[in-house]
């Protein structure tokens, strides 16, 4: 099971599910990370965390452990 935190830079993937046991899952959904959406890992900070994803035509930065609750297909 691959999650969004395991993407390489420039790699695209489709979200298959959001892990709703994660404490931030609701905000992750509300900001637009929903199943069926395509995301791409664009940037990260110099410390490799947080990660910036392209999603629904915009850029969203989330922490690596939050990216872990985004399950890819």
């Amino acid at each position: 099971m691959k999650t969004a935190s395991e993407l390489n830079f420039g790699e695209k993937a489709i979200i298959s599910d959001i892990d709703n046991s994660h404490p931030s899952f609701r905000r992750i959904l509300e900001i637009g990370f929903t199943p069926g959406q395509e995301i791409e890992l664009i940037n990260s900070s110099a410390f490799n965390d947080p990660l910036a994803f392209s999603l629904r035509g915009t850029l969203i930065a989330i922490r690596r452990h939050e990216a872990d609750c985004i399950i890819l297909s």
Partner: protein
């Protein structure tokens, strides 16, 4: 129009996600006549106004803080959402205008859908149509209106096009409906379930497919049918490119580069701080000259009378020595506003989230900490955007250690004493050392406090960092300028009366009871006589009585009671230290027409009344600087800290921990320097 409408203006609330053009619309509707109000009992700020007269419609407009969902995720959002339903001062809205950026349609419709489902009377205002148009698409307003079940109007924030149409829809809604029949919306989205959220998104995506039209084949096919054929190949392909703004991605290649990102970050920060000093310097000189000559003028006009003294010393010099650093505050607010408007601040937060999280802070602590260099008060309010309670409290805890602009006049004076006036760069270097020192100091304190989290902060919470990085754009100079001036004006209104009051109080304490001492001035020149009268008056004043009480605390740091009185005054507001020194050492009547240099002159001549040695030396001045870096001094900061943390515990801990640290470090510094051979 019936009478009840004239009596009670109807309330229209603007709601929308951050960066959806909500504030631009508010500015269009209000013109310039808006005011900012606090939510009672908290500090979430709202702007309200009447709709501009030229639109011919009587209604109050309330601009609410940006939210992305009706399900609150932070204390800030909880207040915003609750007051959307019922604002304690303005009541429930008759109508809600929800702004939606059409280039972000699917994400922004979430809030509009929730508003409609909760039972608000909603008009959706579509913004940024020009961006979508550039991509070759447009939104079918009628279809969207049908799908949502509410009125939809396109507006252009820059040109104001569509605002008339929006207002005629508003007019229809509020004038032909009885004001008693306000809908009472229900809170149905607290802790919304995953399934429900996904269902809303599913509906939104269906709506999106129906309403987005390609301009090329306008009227014949809509994008939906085009997608149908492609769906097998790529199920997520929708209108246009799903990529973010191309220019933004290009800029981010550098600004968010893993190798250069931090370099750019530090260069930008360095630019901010150097410009605060270098750009502001000539303006500060101007303010200084102005008040200096004003004081000299009144002093010579009224002569050596008590009221002449009150006006020139107490009022003009007292306020002047503080207003001198307004240029710096203005420049800091300007640069912060510009950076925020370009979209860089969010990236700065992302870049340093990791190191900050190591010491218990959050990337979102970055903006509050940066604002702390202007003033702790707005900085503590800015910490509301941090949804994690522990991180928010810790951020508030260390904000007073950020070198706020009120410390600047103090540092400027003390560094001016240490460095020759022809070597300005040396003072600049000294300031850089002070700033870096205070940043390192605050991070060390944060790390230590974080270790003792259980006994000091007493909060544990899920730590999270989710932040939209908006597309880069040119800042709107007009808006940034207006906001900066507004901030400075607020600052003067809040701090001004305190500073003026304290200046007069200190003048009173140093002037009475023995205001015209009887001493023998035979054989003395007029100037010498004046100086003798002054020092006699001061040493028998109320301030001297007060100062002698604190003398035991001042001796270990090599100071006497006069500095003690100034330090007491500085607990009300740090910058008062300078005006208080100016008054205690009575510096006006000299030939000098410049306040700063006459205080310095008086300081060089001052003798410690206990030991008879020079009062201000290299070691005592550096000691004072160390004290100001750490001490918790500003009364308004204490008040805001109490309000923002919900109790006295944290502000009291701040006072105890910071001030005792400051005092102990000052003793150590002064004595080490003396041991090392500095006077």
């Amino acid at each position: 129009m019936n009478d009840s409408l004239v009596e009670k203006a109807q309330l229209i609330t603007l709601v929308g996600p951050p960066n959806s053009g909500k504030t631009t619309l508010f500015n269009l509707l209000s013109g310039k006549n808006f005011k900012t109000v606090n939510y009672p009992g908290s500090t979430v700020e709202y702007s309200t106004c009447k709709i501009q007269a030229k639109f011919g419609l009587t209604a109050d407009i309330l601009d609410s803080p940006g939210i992305i969902s009706l399900n609150p995720n932070s204390p800030d959002e909880l207040v915003s959402i609750n007051s959307l339903y019922h604002h304690p001062q303005f009541g429930s809205p008759h109508l809600v205008i929800a702004t939606v950026d059409v280039s972000q349609l699917s994400r922004h419709l979430l809030l509009s859908k929730q508003l409609i489902e909760s039972g608000f009377e909603v008009i959706v205002a579509l913004t940024m149509n020009d961006i979508l148009l550039k991509r070759g698409y447009k939104v079918d307003e009628n279809k969207l209106s049908e799908a949502l079940g509410c009125t939809v109007v396109s507006i252009n924030g820059r040109t104001g096009a569509g605002v008339e149409k929006l207002l005629s829809c508003v007019r229809n809604k509020i004038e032909f409906e009885n004001s008693d029949q306000i809908k009472t919306p229900k809170k149905v989205f607290d802790n919304i379930s995953k399934e429900k959220l996904l269902n809303i998104y599913k509906e939104i995506e269906e709506i999106e497919n129906q309403v987005i039209q390609s301009i090329a084949d306008e009227g014949t096919t809509n994008i939906n049918s085009a997608n149908q054929q492609l769906k097998i190949l790529n199920p997520t392909l929708k209108y246009g490119s799903n990529r973010p703004d191309a220019l933004t991605l290009k800029i981010d290649k550098y600004l968010l580069s893993r190798r250069w990102g931090l370099v750019f970050f530090f260069l930008i920060m360095a630019f901010i701080f150097t410009s605060i000093f270098w750009i502001a310097d000539p303006f500060m000189g101007l303010v200084d000259e102005l008040f200096g000559s004003l004081s000299a003028l009144t002093s010579s006009y009224f002569g050596a009378t008590w009221y002449g003294d009150l006006i020139s010393d107490g009022i003009i010099n007292g306020t002047g020595s503080v207003l001198i650093f307004l240029p710096q505050i203005l420049i800091l607010f300007l640069i912060l506003g510009l950076l925020e408007d370009t979209g860089y601040l969010a990236r700065g937060a992302m870049l340093i989230d990791k190191p900050l999280s190591k010491i218990g802070l959050n990337g979102k602590s970055f903006v509050p900490m940066l604002s702390g260099f202007a003033c702790s008060i707005p900085a503590m309010l800015a910490a509301r955007t941090i949804s994690n309670r522990r991180e928010r409290l810790l951020t508030i805890f260390i904000i007073p250690l950020m070198s706020c602009s009120a410390r600047l006049p103090v540092y400027a004076l003390l560094l001016g004493f240490l460095t020759p006036s022809d070597k300005l760069w040396l003072a600049g270097l000294g300031l850089a050392v002070i700033y870096i020192g205070s940043i390192i100091g605050s991070l060390v304190v944060a790390a230590v406090i974080n270790k003792f989290n259980k006994s000091i902060i007493k909060a544990e919470d899920n730590s999270s960092f989710i932040l939209e990085l908006p597309a880069y754009r040119l800042p709107k100079a007009k808006v940034v300028l207006r906001n900066s001036f507004e901030n400075v004006k607020q600052y003067i209104y809040k701090a001004g009366p305190i500073i003026l009051g304290l200046s007069i109080a200190i003048w009173f304490l140093t002037y009475f009871p023995n205001h015209s001492p009887q001493i023998n001035t035979n054989g003395l020149s007029k100037n010498e006589a004046v100086q003798l009268i002054k020092s006699e008056r001061l040493s028998t004043s109320y301030a001297a009585d007060l100062g002698k009480l604190v003398q035991p605390i001042m001796s270990p740091i090599g100071m006497d009671w006069r500095v003690g009185v100034s330090l007491i005054a500085a607990f009300a507001a740090r910058e008062v230290f300078v005006s208080s020194l100016a008054m205690i050492f009575r510096v006006t009547d000299d030939e000098d027409d410049n306040i700063q240099s006459s205080i310095l002159y008086a300081m060089h001549n001052a003798k410690n009344e206990e030991t008879g040695k020079p009062l201000f030396t290299v070691s005592t001045i550096i000691g004072l600087i160390v004290f100001f870096i750490f001490a918790m001094q500003c009364l308004s900061t204490v008040a805001v800290s109490k309000k923002e943390t919900g109790g006295w515990r944290i502000p009291i801990l701040q006072i105890i921990i910071f001030t005792s640290t400051a005092y102990i470090l000052t003793i150590i510094t002064v004595n080490l320097l003396k041991l090392a051979g500095f006077s």
